[in-house]
Amino acid sequence: MSGPEPGLGVDASEEARAGRSEMLRNNVPYIAIVLVVLLFTIVSGDRFLSVRNWTFIAQQTPVLLLLAYAQLIVVTTGSIDISVGSSLGFSMYMAVLGMVWLGPAGIVCGILAATLIGFVNGSIFSLLKISSFVTTLAMLIIVRALLNIISDGGSIYVTEQAATGTYVDSVAAPWLLALGRFPNILIFALVVTALMWVFYEKTLFGQQLKALGGSERVLSLFGVSVTWFKIQVFVAAGFMVGLASLISLGRSGAGTPRAGEQFELDAIAAVALGGTPLTGGHGSVLRTVVGALTLTVVANGLTIAGVDPSWSRVARGVLLIIAIAISLNRRRIGVVK
């Protein structure tokens, strides 16, 4: 606030105005998605609004959404995890490899792998006190390299029926492919969303995430074991990446050395579009859903409208800045890091 100190009378209307802008800020993600849908409806009409297209959107959003949840867990504490893309690719490969080794139950190898990566991330970050950005940057590189080593550049396919020699490496799992399609993939995402909402809003763990993002110092002053908790945060995020790897595997039908590349950026963008400050302390599951959906719908809508791909990326970048510029609460956030 600038200018002279407002008097008492001014204060009231000032408060009211602050209340209104607060309301606008909180609702920016919802307003954004409505505007985006309206815009593309006007531009592309039937093709954009078709059942087929929304079926595609329903298939495209879940993997991004679950990765965004993983990111939300970490970002709420004021840290960041840029290894989720590599972790996703690695876990998908471990899941399908597990199925080759152990049959359908082997798919848990994917969840275990992602959770383990989360544990390593959290341990390095918390015990060695290396910033989460640097830690997960290193893991982004290492995990991708491990995937290249384990896969030796090859892919393992998930097929409808037992392979007849077409692919060297494949495993028959029609149920998994079905999980990767509409409506199953959407149902899976909705169930995870419900659980995530309860976890984030109602459990002590979820509260602690926000508190850690608010003031780590105060938590340790009051006897909360911050060191162990920070490890748990990354483990929880890793588990969420593991869930994402299952539906991603069902959707893409193969564990490949390139799966998940650059996905970390979309996950961060989805969280940011949902109005969650990367400085931590606040966040919302529902607005993250809207953020992920907006990101998907904009990419989809621009393609349907036939916008040149490079300009499409410019448009998405600009949207991100505008949305965050409006939704950022500058009164609450003293320093932008």
Binding site: K202, T203, L204, F205, Q207, K210, A211, G213, G214, S215, R217, V218, L219, S220, L221, F222, G223, V224, S225, G281, H282, R332
Partner: protein, 252 residues
């Protein structure tokens, strides 16, 4: 132990250094039930380090601490254990988590749970309302809003309320009224008497010597990392106290 059988807290020659810097060379004092002791000293004299050792934030490099006559084992010397023993602190900056609501801040580190994982928000809000009413804070609009939306006085009430609610044995107040006006200061001082009257000991850190004379039963001076033996308020003049703080002179 026999000579100090009644002491609630005994701090014996504790020291602490940080990376070669001796923050506290030797600190010793005792505290009895229902007593208010004031710790005074210049900035950087070691007051803060001393109370953080008592609160369990720092583990002393040497010396020991006894609560109700029981020595605190070094491995138990942490905040969780001290809070378990009934020692609470109101920090100068209040130590609240600004983005969380008042109930969360009140229950920090002691959140009531249901089914082992869920936060019992209902119970927290109910108890918070009761505590704030006790403290005569009635203007709080919503207990769901982040505490940063509250006024400074209300935030202070939550911080003090937290210490009173959990501090059965000892409440440590670090400059509790430095940022307050006369009315609120009076309110805080009234609360300190109330705490003392229920048998809880109070450690008060203050630069306000008038306040120290008004409240403390005994006064402890920390100078250059050393404590002088605590003396009763009645036996000292403010000139003597100032000399003790600035020059480290013993008070006869």
């Amino acid at each position: 132990m026999s000579e100090n059988g009644g002491a609630l807290l005994q701090v014996e020659e504790v020291s602490k250094s940080f990376g070669g810097v001796q923050a506290l060379r030797s600190g010793s004092f005792e505290l009895s039930r229902g007593e208010i002791i004031a710790i005074v000293g210049a900035n950087g004299a070691g007051k803060s380090t001393l109370i953080k050792i008592v609160a369990g934030v720092f583990r002393p490099d040497s010396g020991r601490m006894l609560v109700r006559g029981e020595p605190v084992a070094p491995r138990d010397h942490n905040v969780g254990h001290m809070r378990h023993l009934g020692i609470e602190v109101v920090y100068q900056d209040l130590a609240i988590v600004p983005n969380m609501n008042a109930p969360y801040n009140l229950f920090l580190g002691r959140i009531p749970k249901r089914f082992g994982i869920f936060v019992d928000e209902h119970a927290m809000r109910r108890k918070t309302r009761a505590i704030l009413e006790d403290l005569k804070v009635t203007t709080v609009q919503s207990l769901r809003e982040p505490i940063s939306a509250m006024s400074g006085g209300q935030q202070q009430s939550v911080a003090i309320g937290r210490a009173i609610a959990w501090g059965r044995e000892i409440v440590i107040l670090d400059e509790p009224t430095a940022a307050l006006g006369p009315t609120e200061t009076g309110e805080v001082e009234r609360l300190m008497h109330e705490i003392r009257d229920r048998g809880t000991a109070v450690i008060l850190i203050s630069h306000n010597l008038e306040q120290v004379f008004r409240l403390a039963d005994r006064i402890l001076v920390v100078h250059h990392g050393l404590t002088t033996p605590a003396f009763p308020r009645s036996g000292v003049t403010s000139e003597q106290l100032v000399r003790a703080i600035t020059l480290g002179e013993q008070v006869a």
